[in-house]
Subunit: 102 residues, 2 copies
Amino acid sequence: MSLAQIRYFVAVAEEGNVGRAADRLHIAQPPVSRQIQALEAEIGTPLFVRTPRGMRLLPSGEAFLHRARRILNALEEATAAARAAGLTSAEVERGTVASRRG
Amino acid sequence: MSLAQIRYFVAVAEEGNVGRAADRLHIAQPPVSRQIQALEAEIGTPLFVRTPRGMRLLPSGEAFLHRARRILNALEEATAAARAAGLTSAEVERGTVASRRG
DNA sequence: CGATCCAATACCGTTTTGGTATGCTGCTCT
DNA sequence: AGAGCAGCATACCAAAACGGTATTGGATCG
C-alpha cells in the first residue's frame, strides 16, 4: 500500500469515474485502474462496484474513504508541524552552534 | 514522501541509530540514510542532529514523530475497517446480485 | 596516532511505476 | 437490432525509484 494508491482511491471515490480521477491527478487512466486493483487485492476485498456508468463505492470503500482522508490530512499536518517547528529550531540550532563557535 | 520513509523515520527515531533501525527494518543501512535525507529535504528542515553516537531528534523531529505514528496507526485501522466491512458487504453484494438475477 | 563506530556517497541491478495503444463490455440512439 | 459511444481492463514498453554492496569521511576513544 502506498500514499499514491490512497490518493488515487480518494480521487476515484470522489469522481465516481477512473478517467475523471486520472485527469484530476494529472496522470493517465490505466495506472489509476491498476493501483485501485492493487489496493483492493492488498486489502483483500473490493472497494468499488464497476458499473457501466463508472465506479460506485461499496460499504468497504466508504469505510476506507473516511480513514483515507484522515491519513492524507494527518500527512499534511505532520509536514506542516515539522516545518513550523523546524523553522524556529533551525534558527535556534544555528544560533547555538554559532555561539559555541564564536 | 512515502509510507516507507515514514516507517524508516520512526525506526530511526526510536533506535537513535540508522544501522540499528536498518536491522530492525530488515534492510541495509544506506537506503535508510538516503530516505531520511529525502524526507528532510522534502519537509525542508532537518529532523535529526547527527552526532558521533547516532541520530538525535530535533524538535521538528519530535513533532513529526507524533504525527507519523498516528499516520501508521490510521493506515492499519483503515485496512482493518475496509476488510471488516468487506467481508460482510461482499456477501451482501453477492446475495443482492444473485437475488436480482434469479 | 591507530582502531572503531557511524552516517554518507558511488555505483549497480532489480523492481515499480506511468504512458501509449488496444481490447472488451454494456449502454444508447435511431 | 446494429452502430456508435463510454468506461474499465490488459499488453507492452520506457523511465524512475528503490535497495544492496563496497567504500569514504568524520569524530571519538584507547
